[in-house]
Amino acid sequence: MVLLSVENLPETELRYIAQQENVENWDSLSRDELVEILESIGELDFSDNEKAGVPSNHRFVKGITDVGSDFLQLPGVEPLPTMYNETAVHLVPRDNYWAYSFFSISISDEAKLQENPAELVLRLCSSKASYEINITPQDECWNVELPWPEETYCLKLIARRNEEDEVLAVSNKITLNHTEILNKPEALDDPDTFKLLVPELTNKNGKLMDNILLREIIEKAMGAQK
């Protein structure tokens, strides 16, 4: 299978490799220290070791095949641009609280902005409210918080001059779905409902699965109980 990079290996394995590599104090180093040392070893040339008959563990080498960055390129392809020549803004939902946005300004719009400078602003809009993020021309992306549940959002890229706004681009819309139990956490007060919904979302140690919205629901339910 794939060669795993150092930080993906379990601590036991890290210690074993460190021992094999004759790392000093291999049995008392912390995990972070082990990762740092083994990563630096991974970058060394082992060919002398091999010639001397000393086995080396390349298990943790990050690069798998000895290839350059363009080994898969077919004839005629162009390198990937940093940006596409368009004025646009996109919103990609990451979870129920955050979205990833990326944006670009076309060459002609950039020229206009240079001629007639403006402050650049991202405005996140929903039916409930909106808020703004000041950005610079060097910014290309932003993690945008989605503060109001069950809302539909869009993002506007705005050029602001003397408090007058010019909307340069509007993103696609994203909608956070209605979550009934978030609105009715008291439903978990019913023992049968609790027994149905909660244990199936925990592990054998009773730990709730790692999900921010689930945690919020349980906390609300516990708060309601108090």
């Binding site: 080498v61 898969l72 392809v77 939902p93 592990n203 919205l213």
Partner: protein
Amino acid sequence: MKSRLNFVFNTHLPFVRHPEYPKFLEEDWLFEAINESYLPILRMLYKFRGSKSKVKLTFSLSPALCEMLEDSLLKERFEQYILSRIELGEQEIKRLQGHEELRLAEMYLENIRANYAFFTEDCNRSIPSAFNILEKEGFIELITTCATHAYLPVYQQYPVAVNAQIETGIMNHTNRFDKSPDGFWVPECGFYPGLDEYLRRHNVNWISLGAQALVLGDKIPEKGNYAPVKTPSGLYCFARDYYMTSLVWSQDGYPSDPLYRDFYRDIGYDLPLDYVRPYIHEPEVRVFTGFKYYAVTGKTADKVLYNPDLARTRTEEHAKNFIYNLKSRTSVVYDIIKENPVFTLSFDTELFGHWWYEGVQWLEDIISLCISDDSLEMISPSDYIKENHCIQTMMPGFSSWGEHGYSEVWVDSSSNAWLCRHTLKAVERMQEIAQRFPDQSSLKKRFLNQAARETLLLMSSDWPCIIHNHSSEGYAKNRIVSHIQNLNLVYEEVSKNAVNTEWLIKAEKRNKIFADIDYNVFNSNHLEQTSPVFTNDFSVK
């Protein structure tokens, strides 16, 4: 009172095929999965053929994986791979005479030889066909997934592309197995409200979702995850049971037991280079060989020798433990919902045999326990739906089975989110050229078809996931960038009414997938013309 086990196995690997190299390391992903997981699972299930055992499992075979499994070059390379492992096994037996590890080497060699015989004789070198036989005989249900296992929530603003993934996947499955799939594996269980309508357009009746999908839905699920729900468009949604599946697939799940075989200690790393050189990759890149002689042991670097007899006893115990937990849950749940609960147990197939060496044996033990106990029943979602239960209508919430239950793995600002700009632009461009140049023929059609292949390949969920995990980062980045570059080339050239034949010939040879693809699947007019949406009662609107 019965516990109903709904096992759903997602079988997928990213499409990796490099004819331009005589040997390519990342192709080992496929060979290891075949040798350590798919063939052992098939051999295990084939033991039940001829019996009237009520075995029922569901397997999703991804189109990308099936294309690799049926590719003649990759089959030939797999045979070379397995023959080299047989040779290595024979070497190991010579080397280990008089050593404790000898019986382990003999065990591995016997398994590999059995796999090879099964591959060449029972499978006739076609693993999808071997699965198909099991479906025809009623032991399993075969379903499919997106063409290249795209994580769909990232593309939700591009319904044409979402539909292209679904439609191409279903068409590939139907052509391969002469039967359209009843169910669909949503990649990474990545669901968003509205996705159901695109699946229903293609007569998909059911999907499997992440554990939290129903609880985070627009209604409170009346039966928890112990029964499916139905969306307004009529799609049945079965949500995974986190408690039961985490007994198996979690940091302290069964595979972490000290008696089980350790994954990492492998002779590919432990033995001198001169000895393993014929079995690793150039330029002297050590790899896993599959010959592993140590047990997990515990949190220590001093691993003990693996004892298969002790491990065997432990798998029996773990199978019984699993059933015990299942029955305990059943007795609680049955009293509340007044019907036999369905436990949806979805896993990646490669967990069994590859990541967890004893996993196939554990699965066999579970099946045997189910067969011999009337309070246990294996059921597929399609069989459950045919029973015509009263099903709650609701919409599951945005969810996945990835880390933290959403899209963080595939939209990770610290590692792979930068790809979104390029992949979404590529999808936009593919849709644009499909619309601008519809129904082309001859060379231009080939050119645009190849663009469609590149688009599907760049949409694969594997590349951003690999980058997020920092495992084969360089290769994954190269792959996704190359597909985007290829798409951009077609976009530029076709806009100038030109065809780059040199590129086309090489691209077709390398990215040889979906021979029947029609690029018009990326045309928005095509989406409007696809099947009408079905109503709740399965009649056509």
